[in-house]
Amino acid sequence: MISQNHMTQKHNNHLDQLESEAIFIFREAVEQFENPVLLFSGGKDSITLVHLAHKAFYPAKIPFSLLHIDTGHNFTETLDFRDELVKKYGVDLEVGYVQDLIDRGVVQEEKGINPSRNGLQSATLLEKLSQKKYDAAFGGGRRDEEKARAKERFFSHRDEFGQWDPKNQRPEVWNLFNGKKAPGESFRVFPISNLTETDVWEYIQREKIDLPSLYFAHERSVVERDGTLLAESSYNTLLPGESYEKRRIRYRTLGCVTITGAVESDADTIDKVIEEVRSSKVTERGTRADDARSEVAMEERKKQGYF
């Protein structure tokens, strides 16, 4: 039945350990919560998360649905990839549409040339969680992403309003997790907390996980604004004097097409991407236009003939 593969296992390699930890977290959460769901953004971290969930429960199917909070400002590649992935793993997909909440007047869209719907995602997510009575949501957050995340727990408690109270986090000692909660409260669970960006890429390489083509170098029509390369899209507006131009780029993170900046790159294979990530001088969130971004970093990279 299960394929006879008597490969020699490499023990205690860092990726084995991080994988084992993530699988342990998945299994623990599924046992401790009634109705968990996996937040699927379409990015590499959540794709990795789905792969790990698959491994955690095999040969049974992933015992929860994926939930995608759709801002409407997507790269088309992301949606195509999502639908393929759902088919491949045989999981159910739930979609919460930000546009729905905007239409109903529950939330209001930002003004401006490149409106970000990031802030509106939370409201959509919370509505979906309460509608479907999800009491735990797996997320692909990692502690190396930013300062606040460095203090996040694997099992992160949220009050009735979905709020995180950093002052009142439950201590996580050894591998004993406390998922107890009052009605209405929920948890966010982060199985890949301890993976760094490099770890994720090395894991993707080792496991041969498919990713959307956006992560690899390709020609795209972009506009450079404040050191950030924004893709041509019907959701973006050019400022006076700006114009789109073809550049060879790739994405380090994926979010709304309105705010996700590309990096100039020739890394069109996973090996090249890993090489690039290892020698990168900025954090991956540095490519987000809504995060403060250092011009010097870009300048420095160009000086070094950065791709």
Partner: protein, 496 residues
């Protein structure tokens, strides 16, 4: 670059992960296997902890330019004359400004052969629980001592927690050597003081764990013996901080017993497999598959091994071990696997599959196994009891309450529990026990167990637990207490 004002970069800057570190460390392991070390830093800002962390991250190229920019901006905003690398490690801006509870933060850096997960915890007395939390998963601890002050109370507390939690490698970093002219005599004197301290800590504690001590004279600010060997300490022949972190044994943290016993060539190791979840696909492809998912928490499991199921006491053998679609010939500590058994036995979450080394000899029924500790040390099976002695670190702001209903978590098992008695509380200043008058609750009410306290208590559980001493197995020898009304995690403890 700006940061030079505060922290002087090492002479050789690394240009990538394939960095110059390897070239600088001749004894560097030449292997492609990258492993993982979890460690904790203990010490206050005054000891130079933040500077040390900043330097380790800076010199291993783990600080990015946008992060550096952000720190520069923060320093400027606060009116600092210099860029303060400590800001990188000191967490949320709001946290610093509002003075809210400082917590454990996890940081990551790597060298070509090893990845590091560092638990960065504040060292003040009121944060004992944070060090306890961070230290619980650590293979190594760096204890910082200010060369000008030597061993102080805080050093004693950190050492106490490190030994309580059985951290194998204790790296004593004697810092600010530049302020004492890199005087070898001062280093040796502090080293001696510390050896006396740890001897007294160990003799007074129940810890049977072996600790390996590493003493390193450093200047975190100037970088001496942190990443590179210092020119100022020609009398010091040992490794730098980073070299030590790169070379210590990483397998000690998972299950002390497995390795210490292996080292002693003792054939007995504690094979423990707490069942997390039963995997039953009930699909057309796998109609009859019934596997037990969990993580190996001690010993080595192989197909064909005899096992005994706790608490049902049934015996069977392992059929197959799966890691996803692979069928490895063995599974070792910390491996998440799925196991199938030869016989159809009713097993659920919270049960434990245990190596049955004694299957050939006449084995007592497990419920009769209540041996004194010295005999038990040669046993390979867990103890079974619904009463246990635990050294707890109290986390909650609400004091321990006798008779209050708590929920106890032990591996994947959960049960109701009450605290029957408080034997003593550790005076965190002197590290000596404050005994209750008769070790009985009710007759003595002066000993209160509150936030950050460490106490030895006796717990009674609704279901029997199958456990090992913490000194023998960190996973099967540790527990969590949860308040059954507020759901708060109120304490963690080690079985003694």
């Amino acid at each position: 670059m700006k940061q030079k004002e505060y922290i002087e970069p090492s002479p050789v800057r690394h240009t990538g992960t394939e960095s110059a570190i390897a070239a600088q460390a001749p004894h560097y392991k030449k292997t492609h296997q990258v492993d993982l070390l979890r460690f904790i830093t203990a010490g206050s800002v005054d000891d130079g902890k933040s500077t040390l962390i900043g330097r380790l991250m800076y010199d291993t190229k783990s600080i990015f330019e946008d992060q550096l920019k952000a720190i520069e901006a923060s320093s400027k905003k606060r009116g600092d004359a210099q860029v303060d690398l400590a800001l990188l490690t000191d967490g949320l801006k709001a946290e610093r400004e509002q003075g809210i509870t400082i917590d454990v933060a996890y940081r990551y850096f790597s060298t070509p052969n090893r990845k590091f997960i560092m638990a960065d915890t504040p060292g003040h007395i009121e944060y004992t629980r944070n060090m306890f939390t961070g230290a619980s998963t650590a293979d190594a601890v760096i204890i910082l001592i200010d060369a000008r002050h030597g061993v102080i109370e805080q050093t004693r507390r950190h050492t106490f927690i490190a030994t309580l939690l059985g951290i194998r490698h204790i790296i004593v970093a004697i810092n600010k050597m530049d302020l004492v002219d890199f005087d070898q005599k001062i280093f040796e004197k502090i080293k001696e003081e510390y050896q006396t301290l740890i001897a007294s800590t160990l003799s007074g504690s129940t810890s049977k764990n072996k600790h390996e001590l590493h003493f390193i004279p450093i200047s975190a600010l100037r970088g001496d013996n942190v990443v590179d060997i210092s020119k100022h300490t020609p009398w010091y022949k040992g490794d730098t901080i980073l070299e030590t972190l790169e070379n210590v044994d990483v397998h000690s943290g998972v299950n002390v017993n497995q390795h210490s016993l292996a080292a002693d060539a003792n054939p007995v190791s504690l094979g423990r497999f707490p069942v997390q979840r039963v995997i039953r696909p009930q699909s057309a492809e796998f109609p009859d598959f019934r596997g037990y998912a969990g993580r190996v928490e001690g010993g080595v499991f192989r197909p064909g091994d005899s096992v005994v199921i706790f608490p049902s006491d049934q015996k069977t053998r392992i059929d197959k071990i799966y890691k996803y679609k692979n069928e490895p010939t063995e599974a070792v500590s910390s491996d998440s696997i799925v196991m199938t058994l030869v016989d159809d036995i009713d097993i659920s979450r919270g049960d434990m599959i245990v190596q049955d080394y004694l299957q050939k000899s006449a084995r007592q029924p497990i419920h009769q196994i209540h041996q004194p500790i010295h005999q038990y040390a040669y046993q390979s099976l867990p103890q079974v009891s619904n009463e246990l002695n635990v050294l707890v670190n109290w986390f909650s702001a609400t004091n321990l309450q006798i008779d209050r209903l708590y929920i106890l978590r032990h591996t994947t098992l959960e049960t109701k529990a009450v605290v029957k008695s408080i034997e003593y509380k550790i005076d965190i200043q002197t590290l000596t026990p404050i005994h209750t008058m008769e070790n009985r609750v009710g007759t003595d009410i002066d000993v209160k167990i509150g936030k950050n306290d460490i106490a030895r208590i006796q717990i009674k559980t609704a279901k029997p637990l199958y456990f090992d001493l913490f000194s023998q197995n960190k996973v099967t020898g540790s527990i969590l207490l949860i308040d059954s009304y507020t759901n708060e995690t109120v304490a963690a403890g080690v079985v003694v």
